[in-house]
Homo-oligomer: 268 residues x 2
């Protein structure tokens, strides 16, 4: 792993390289999202400011844990502050590793559960933590785009709503009394404020569920390519087929397929 | 925590008490599922045999972890063997605690994520582990009823199918080469073999998604009462409303509401 100073330089080099690529091949690249040296949060906030506000990056890609830590830690707040100020989105991608065991009595994950199920779980935990820690409430202009169509949130919407309505009742060593009030609006509206992409590997029933939860204004096309068979071609094809088959207005399909992306990433 | 010998006795007392209650009040209790001394697996298998095969318990309730261990460990196999032989179902309920941290850099879960999101996650991990370890393949007659409408499985069906199609490709320290072949049928058919209950706290979009995945023959009414507002009355009412509103045949609603339960629990 690169040290903080190296990481800051690597990020700068990578982001400048992406900016250059986009400038050279505007017919192939609509834009880019920047990477940050998250092990150096102050430098990361500065780099975010350089590429989002002074440069023309179209967003940031952050991972759902930083060397095992959650993004709701105060040291990361200045990064979200810059993103909110820029009006450009943060793309949230899970990053759990095989070293996170499936069960407390074990030392590592089996059968690649850490990736297949663990990633959507980690994403969901991060969403909850960003809400309950106050990050999203303090930064109402912050836009976060969630991978895998909002992970566990749509399917469990009523469970989350009613289960967290009694937040604090299962806890004796922390005072969660003021958390829900601090949000200033219903919890599920906070979850609905996230944007979500359609990367469900061509799953139709999950797509219907996720779209009903977030609505056509907050869902953006993505396929997870180059993962999947045929170098990702299969995921792209299957996801497009699912969207084409949805019983929704043509205008909503256009939003999902490109209009939301144009607006969110500030593309021309 | 009770020691193994105590636990075995407690389970026997509890199960006999439930059997007695059911015999005394057949108008109020259609049947009962037994508890087992899981910290004494041999005694647990014997108790399962006593109540399922020689007694009239209608199934077992197992928790998704045993003091932190996964149910796919060989020491628990004889319990599943008895359940399969009896033809009666195992009800799987999550049991994760606040001591399982949301992120590797932390020591405990925050904001009750361990229960709200952690429980469905643990359930999903257990399902995957029971499949990949060969438990469900070795016991084709085993019937397992999953809480929360199959947890993460329905929403992520295509992700699971395509992601696990390359099981082994993300792993260098284990050989998963023969696992998929061992299943003897497509992975998603193994997931569809589970039964699932409708305890989604009255969530409509999740219910539609889960029902499409499992089909009306494998979904059973449950509400999660007495959790929820009004001592559980709200969960019962909302879940019934969701099922009533589903655009499916009346015969399918009857299966979900009682016919599947009659057959699965061998009720008269």
């Amino acid at each position: 792993m690169a040290g903080p100073q190296e990481a800051a330089e690597f990020a700068r080099v990578a982001n400048d390289g992406l900016a250059e690529l986009c400038a050279k091949h505007p017919d192939r690249f609509a834009g880019y999202v920047g990477a940050l040296p998250m092990n150096a949060p102050e430098a990361a906030a500065k780099e975010a400011e350089r590429i989002l506000i002074h440069g023309n990056a179209n967003g940031l890609q952050l991972h759902a844990n930083v060397a095992g830590a959650c993004l709701d830690e105060p040291r990361f707040f200045p990064i979200f502050e810059v993103a909110a100020k820029s009006g450009k989105p943060v793309l949230l991608h899970p990053a759990r590793t095989p070293n996170v065991a499936d069960f407390p009595a074990e030392t590592k994950s089996k059968y690649e559960i850490w990736a297949i199920l663990g990633w959507p779980y980690e994403t969901s935990c991060t969403m909850a933590r960003l809400i309950f820690s106050g990050v999203t409430t303090r930064l109402p202009d912050l836009k976060i785009l969630i991978h895998h169509l909002g992970a566990m949130i749509p399917f469990f919407d009523a469970r989350l709503d009613t289960g967290w309505a009694t937040l604090g009742s299962r806890t004796s060593d922390e005072d969660y009394g003021g958390v829900l009030k601090m949000l200033g609006k219903p919890l599920m509206d906070c979850f609905r404020d996230f944007y979500a992409d359609t990367a469900l590997c061509g799953g139709r029933i999950g797509t219907v569920c996720g779209l009903e939860f977030f609505g056509a204004d907050h869902v953006l096309f993505a396929s997870d390519a180059p993962f999947g068979a045929q170098g990702g071609a299969s995921y792209i094809r299957e996801t497009m087929k699912v969207i084409a088959g949805l019983e929704i207005a043509r205008a909503d399909k256009e939003k999902i397929c490109y209009r939301n992306a144009q607006a969110l990433f500030k593309l021309s």
